[in-house]
Amino acid sequence: MEAILHQIFAGLATGGIYASLALALVMIYQATHLVNFAQGEMAMFTTYIAWSLINAGMPYWAAFLLTVVFAFVFGVLLERLVIRPVENAPVLAVVVVFIALLLILNSVTGWIYTYTLKSFPSPFPQQPVFGKYISSHELGAIGITLVVLLLLYAFFRFTPLGLAMRAAAQNPESSRLVGIRVGWMLALGWGLAAAVGAVAGMMVAPIVYLDPNMMGGILLYAFAAALVGGIDNPWGAVFGGFLVGVLENLLGAFVIGNELKLSVALVLIIGVLLVRPSGFFGKVHVTRV
């Protein structure tokens, strides 16, 4: 029983990270109908930047904040410089650009920082605060995730800029007719997604150790989580993230062992998709012919 509880809480912690990344994926998907396969590497790269800052002596939260800002700017620049030139290319061509970004970021990071594992500090105390089922970092990670998600929700729901971004994602043509600069809304979306990814990266790095390949599996889980929740539903992404996190941990600990848990988790997710092809909360698209 204890072990199960522990796995569930750990699952919620990693689930929060999957949820954040899944949310970033959904944000970009809603605006562009594309899945940004480079999201994980962007998060990883910005986490390394944080590591450099902390190593240079900057206090954790200052580095955290600076990294988030850097990630935002980085995301905006990527959209304007790399993605914009191909916005009219066939879908699969854009996917190839995303894959290229993934390769470039991974390779460059490995080159600059080498592939040896590095430890990344956690801002939360070492001792478990709430009993033995959950470490402080896990609890803190869940907390930070929820704060980020709430901030995002408030931004999109209550601010004019958030409204404009939602409008631009749903209906770019009408958005132009009310004076919204749709191109910049897209860039902003990328910036926000990158910032969310950076937070996710910094929360997961203390658990899995900093390594250029750390986000590969995580991105996959996030992608699956976004789909399970319904790729066009932000709440679904969050739900999916937590679900996948818990599922992965329970499977890995009790059913199948760490080797195959990725495959099994994926198979289960696909099983869900076969039953509910649009995910739990996705919109069922009725298209006119």
Partner: protein, 231 residues
């Protein structure tokens, strides 16, 4: 003078249009389906490729991006209404005022729109996509007005509306035109109603202007009467 002069030479649809709008007037653009009326509006807004000049308030706006043209004070109510279906009625209206900075004026305008169209106020929190055709039309017009525009382009505002609603809508448009001196360019297939509302009109056929003049003149013109007014 805020005169709009346009000369386009689009090989596909418009073959060289020349016309001007007078400040504060309502002008109708008539013609059958496929004459190029919608394309004209879209060309003014920079939504299609054009050659030739379009001027607004003394500046050239051809070749500029749609959002920049809009920010100069041109509001376009597109055919199909262009409603943000997944956002609420009120969110749609607020988006109309996106480019305006003065909060109190925006709030006042919002109330004014609800005054013109009480049905929108009833449905302010409802998802805009679930509104009826007539209500969406009112929403589209209101959204354009929220921009506080100097020029309004309306593409087939009577489309799909019951005649009573059309009369109501056109009444409001006339009131707004008089009260706030907003110039309007109205594209309509319903020539009779359009000529009643407008001061002057242009008749388009296959991308060219074939007739121009005051709406009284056009109403009396034989060809127009027979082809478009039905008598």
């Amino acid at each position: 003078m805020r005169a709009l002069r346009a000369t386009y030479g689009q090989t596909r649809v418009l073959h060289g249009l020349d016309f001007a709008l007078e400040k504060g007037s309502i002008t109708a653009l008539l013609g059958a389906n496929g004459a190029g009326k919608t394309t004209t509006l879209r060309a003014i807004c920079g939504m299609v490729k054009t050659q030739g000049e379009v001027r607004f308030a003394g500046q050239r706006i051809d070749g500029r991006a749609t959002e920049d043209i809009v920010r100069l004070g041109v509001a376009h109510v597109p055919d199909g209404r262009g409603t943000f279906a997944h956002l609420s009625t009120e969110e749609n209206l607020r988006l109309g005022a996106y480019t305006r900075k003065e909060r109190p004026a925006v709030e006042a305008d919002l109330e004014r729109m609800y005054g013109y169209f009480p049905r929108l106020k009833e449905r302010r929190r409802q998802q805009a996509g679930t509104l009826s055709g007539g209500e969406q039309q009112m929403l589209a017009v209101s959204r354009a007005l929220m921009l506080s525009p100097k020029l309004m382009l309306l593409d087939e505002p009577s489309f799909g509306l019951a005649p009573l609603l059309v009369t109501e809508l056109f009444d409001i448009l006339r009131r707004i035109n008089v009260r706030e001196q907003i110039s309007m360019l109205l594209v309509e297939q319903n020539a009779a109603m359009a000529l009643q509302l407008a001061n002057s009109a242009y008749l388009l056929e296959t991308g060219r202007v074939v007739l121009a003049g005051s709406s009284d003149d056009l109403k009396r013109d034989d060809a127009v009467r027979r082809a478009y007014l039905g008598y």
